[in-house]
């Protein structure tokens, strides 16, 4: 009986396990391995067997201690992930709740509007913000403020460190990320029986009370999912940041997160140091795992998982 169950489970789980091993476990193992080699410039034949021990980690640690700007990269990672995460999750939640209380047609149009950043090609979307936040008078924001007489001189928004640079990268990425939470939370809200809301309305509850007492408690699972997913996603995201830094819109040190540092070190420079980048990627993965576990612990994930009654 047990064997039969194991066989059935293996049959159904095999595709998923296979995919996870192929696309997650193997790359992770490879990344860890490469971090112990002197791999550079894609020269697999030459460097893949050249094991250098903890040399790349030593270099990272040395940089952390002595580089006057490397700490800015780590600090930027913490601030960027933290604040953007709050915007993404709470923004998504706010949008979902707002559209929940609207009529369907305007609600759909409103949701679609927030999806636009995600649908736009990254380069086009980043270019829009490049010109919007440009630190000279050609920047849309500066030009508007100057025309309104609010400022006399253009403000180099992305070059004011640290908060100017942080604000730009958080704003641009926050706008992209907020739609993810909105979709998940909207879907969650649509699963909640309408009778509960109607009954509360009949009893005279306001939209705020309905949200707080009925809707939010029923969305805890979704909240946990969006929070964890967005956290891991933000920790590893870099395409928008890459362009904003590459185009000199934001300060290089305070516009670079660890994920972007990994990308630039591995593929973005004259000499591409994939061993060092892999070591930084391993550190990033460890941070991701620790952060993910903390999130699950804080939101009491284990309490939400209950053994099903009876046999499956």
């Amino acid at each position: 009986m047990r064997n039969e169950k194991l066989r059935d489970l293996s049959f159904f789980l095999f595709p998923m396990v296979f995919m996870v091993v192929l696309f997650y476990i193997i790359p992770l193992v490879l990344t860890v391995y490469i971090s112990f080699t002197g791999m550079r410039n894609w020269n697999v034949d030459r460097y893949l067997h050249q094991v250098v021990g903890f040399y790349n980690y030593e270099r990272l640690f040395h940089m952390f201690r002595y580089d006057p700007t490397f700490k800015a990269v780590l600090l930027t990672t913490v601030v960027f992930v933290g604040i953007t995460l709050i915007i993404n999750v709470l923004g998504g939640l706010g949008l979902a709740l707002a559209t929940f209380f609207m009529r369907e047609k305007p609600a759909s149009a409103f949701r679609l509007l927030w999806l636009l950043p995600r649908m736009s090609p990254i380069a086009v979307y980043s270019l829009v913000w490049y010109y919007f936040f440009h630190g000279s008078s050609i920047g849309t924001l500066n030009s508007i403020l100057m025309k309104l007489g609010i400022i006399n001189q253009p403000i180099p928004w992305g070059q004011i460190i640290p908060w100017g640079a942080w604000s730009v990268i958080i704003f641009v990425n926050g706008l992209v990320g907020v739609s993810f939470g909105m979709i998940v939370f909207t879907s969650a809200l649509n699963q909640i029986p309408k009778e509960l809301v109607i009954a509360a309305r009949v009893d005279g509850a306001s939209a705020w009370e309905i949200s707080r007492r009925i809707l939010l408690p029923l969305m805890k699972w979704h909240f946990l999912y969006v929070l964890t997913w967005q956290f891991l996603s933000l920790l590893t995201t870099y395409p928008h940041l890459f362009l904003l830094v590459e185009w000199d819109l934001v300060d290089r040190d305070y516009g670079t997160t660890l994920a972007l540092y990994v990308f630039n070190t591995a593929f973005g420079r004259g000499e591409q140091d994939q061993g060092l980048a892999a070591a930084a990627a391993v550190v990033l993965s460890i941070l991701g795992i620790i952060g993910g576990l903390i999130t699950l612990k804080v939101l009491q994930f284990e309490k939400m998982i209950k053994r099903p009654r009876g046999d499956l």
């Binding site: 410039n41 894609w42 020269n43 697999v44 034949d45 030459r46 030593e58 270099r59 040395h62 940089m63 201690r65 002595y66 580089d67 006057p68 700007t69 490397f70 440009h134 630190g135 000279s136 050609i138 180099p156 992305g158 070059q159 460190i161 000199d248 819109l249 290089r252 040190d253 593929f267 973005g268 420079r269 004259g270 000499e271 591409q272």
Partner: protein, 540 residues
């Protein structure tokens, strides 16, 4: 049933093995697979053609990768034209082999370099690769490009015609890894009408700069005067982004160095770097140079500011000359050749201070050959040497003075060969180029027709002839795999100094700390000298 299936499988396996063995017994007769170059191009090409024909090869496929501004397409069509000419020689000699070339031309040379780097190990990169010499050390170090030192010995007469300092840019650790394709100088442009308003005589300026009499203190003096008199909004405009290569001219102008050939290490020349940063800081602090220039937009700010006469000086490149004639920087339209000539004077990059020498800086592009060149052709392993020798002959032919001169005229780059430099001064030849009455592949003529129409004129040819002397003063950034990392740090320091976030002293300290923080960079960079005490700018 089971035994039937087993039998079937056994028969199948046997059939596969047997067919492999039968195929393996078919002997492919391989003829001579080595070639010795003689230095006589036609003879060598015929010899290679015959070897290929005897080995049953009728078609050789090559791909040429090039990149840069839209006018620099000869970087790939030079190879296409070469194939056309070799095919013609083979046909005339009854050799039934043909070269076909596919081309790939991208805008960004850095992006194409990164693509080459990632695809070369997979055997998917171009057979010919023309790119900045700055990447050559890394490519040579990794074994991604062909060492052509031995092939070149037979063609010493051609090699000798290249300017020697440019040839050095094609070498790494004493070995030749390519041939120079083009180069440029980085003049200091002076806006004539603004200079007149400020009272600066530009007619004698190039000579004064050449003699080292007009230094950066004078640039500061006149920039300030032009601004104070209301002749221009700015005194000086320079590039944004990477400090390589325009701005590092300051290091050479202050008699500094970036590389120590004795140790093979990069050098942080503290006094020269300090003086460079001080000049930048002083210009920005006094409002003569925009504090945020490093994040200016090329098309909307930098070029319009220059061509609209809002600055007295600009540190630019020779290619600006035709770029201003093809891009709409001047109130939404390009400048005419006459306007460019009327408005702009140009000199060498002045000496840092009295006693120093004026300089310019070049970033030659190099024809490089993939170390796996020809690998997609039949019998690659046996005929590797023949394919490589053929590829070498193709870059020799693509370096013909005529091809080089065409590229120079239409893209405002400087010729890399003395013979090509003579051609661009020849009016008859220019007329022939204007009418495309030259021996070129029809495909090449079709593709460069429009560019030739817009750019071939006596004014542009004269400009190239006028600035060619600058190559005698040129410097090259070091050919060192770690140089791009150092240039990145310079860029960051310049930006911080311009914005006033750091004083020149703090910026030098910042550069030192950044170098020391990267263990590998620290092993490859010597820090020499100290910040000079009581150094004043401007002087005199």
């Amino acid at each position: 049933m089971k035994w039937k299936a087993t039998l079937l499988m056994a028969i199948l396996v046997f059939a596969v093995v047997a067919s492999g063995c039968i195929g393996g017994t078919q002997e492919t007769k391989t003829e001579t697979t080595k070639v010795t170059l003689t230095g006589d191009f036609n003879k060598d090409v015929i010899e290679i053609g015959k070897i290929l024909e005897k080995n049953g090869i009728t078609e050789v496929k090559f791909s040429a990768w090039g990149s840069g501004d839209p006018n620099s397409v000869m970087r790939v069509y030079g190879i296409v034209d070469t194939a056309y000419k070799i095919n013609r020689i083979w046909k005339q000699n009854g050799i039934n082999v043909k070269i076909t070339v596919t081309t790939k031309y991208d805008q960004s040379f850095k992006d194409q370099y990164q693509e080459f780097l990632s695809k070369q190990p997979l055997g998917q990169a171009g057979d010919f690769f023309v790119n900045s010499y700055a990447f050559l050390p890394t490519l040579a170090e990794e074994g991604y490009i062909l060492d052509i030192t031995n092939y070149a010995k037979a063609y010493q007469n051609v090699i000798n015609d290249f300017y020697p300092n440019l040839l050095e840019a094609a070498k790494y650790k004493g070995k030749l890894y390519g041939l120079p394709q083009d180069t440029e100088a980085r003049p200091l442009y002076v806006r004539k009408d603004v200079a007149e308003c400020a009272g600066l005589d530009v007619t004698t300026l190039p000579e004064k700069v050449k003699a080292g009499e007009f230094t950066w203190s004078d640039v500061y003096y006149w920039a300030k005067k032009a601004k104070e008199k209301g002749c221009a909004e700015w005194g000086l405009i320079h590039r944004k982004g990477s400090a390589h290569p325009d701005l590092i001219q300051f290091i050479f102008a202050f008699n500094g160095k970036l590389y120590d050939p004795k140790t093979g290490k990069l050098v942080l020349d503290v006094p020269a770097v300090y003086k460079w940063l001080y000049v930048e800081w002083k210009f920005a602090q006094d409002g003569l140079l925009p504090k945020d220039i490093m994040s200016w937009d090329w098309a909307k700010q930098i070029h319009p500011t220059i061509v609209e006469g809002k600055t007295l000086f600009d540190i630019g490149g020779t290619w600006y000359w035709t770029e201003w004639q093809t891009k709409q920087y001047y109130h939404g339209r390009p400048l005419t050749p006459e306007e460019v000539k009327k408005w702009f004077a140009y000199t060498l990059f002045p000496a840092g201070e009295k006693g120093d020498k004026p300089v310019t800086l070049s970033q030659p592009f190099i024809w490089m050959i993939n170390s796996k060149a020809g690998q997609l052709n039949p019998k690659y392993e046996e005929l590797k040497d023949v394919y490589h020798a053929l590829a070498f002959l193709m870059i020799i032919k693509a370096s013909d003075p005529e091809i080089n001169a065409i590229h120079s005229v239409i893209s405002a780059h400087l010729p890399v060969r003395k013979e090509a430099a003579k051609l661009i001064k020849d009016e008859n030849w220019l007329n022939k180029l204007k009418n495309l009455d030259l021996d070129l592949a029809p495909e090449v003529k079709d593709n460069i027709k429009d560019i030739v129409e817009k750019t071939v004129n006596p004014i542009n040819a004269q400009f190239l002839a006028d600035v060619s002397y600058m190559l005698e003063y040129t410097h090259l950034a070091p050919a060192h795999p770690k140089y791009p990392a150092l240039a990145d740090i310079f860029k960051e320091a310049v930006d911080k100094v311009l914005r006033g976030e750091m004083t020149p002293e703090e910026a030098v300290k910042f550069i030192e700390e950044k170098i020391k923080a990267d263990k590998e960079l620290a092993d490859n960079v010597e820090i020499v000298g100290e910040i000079p005490k009581d150094w004043k700018f401007p002087q005199g």
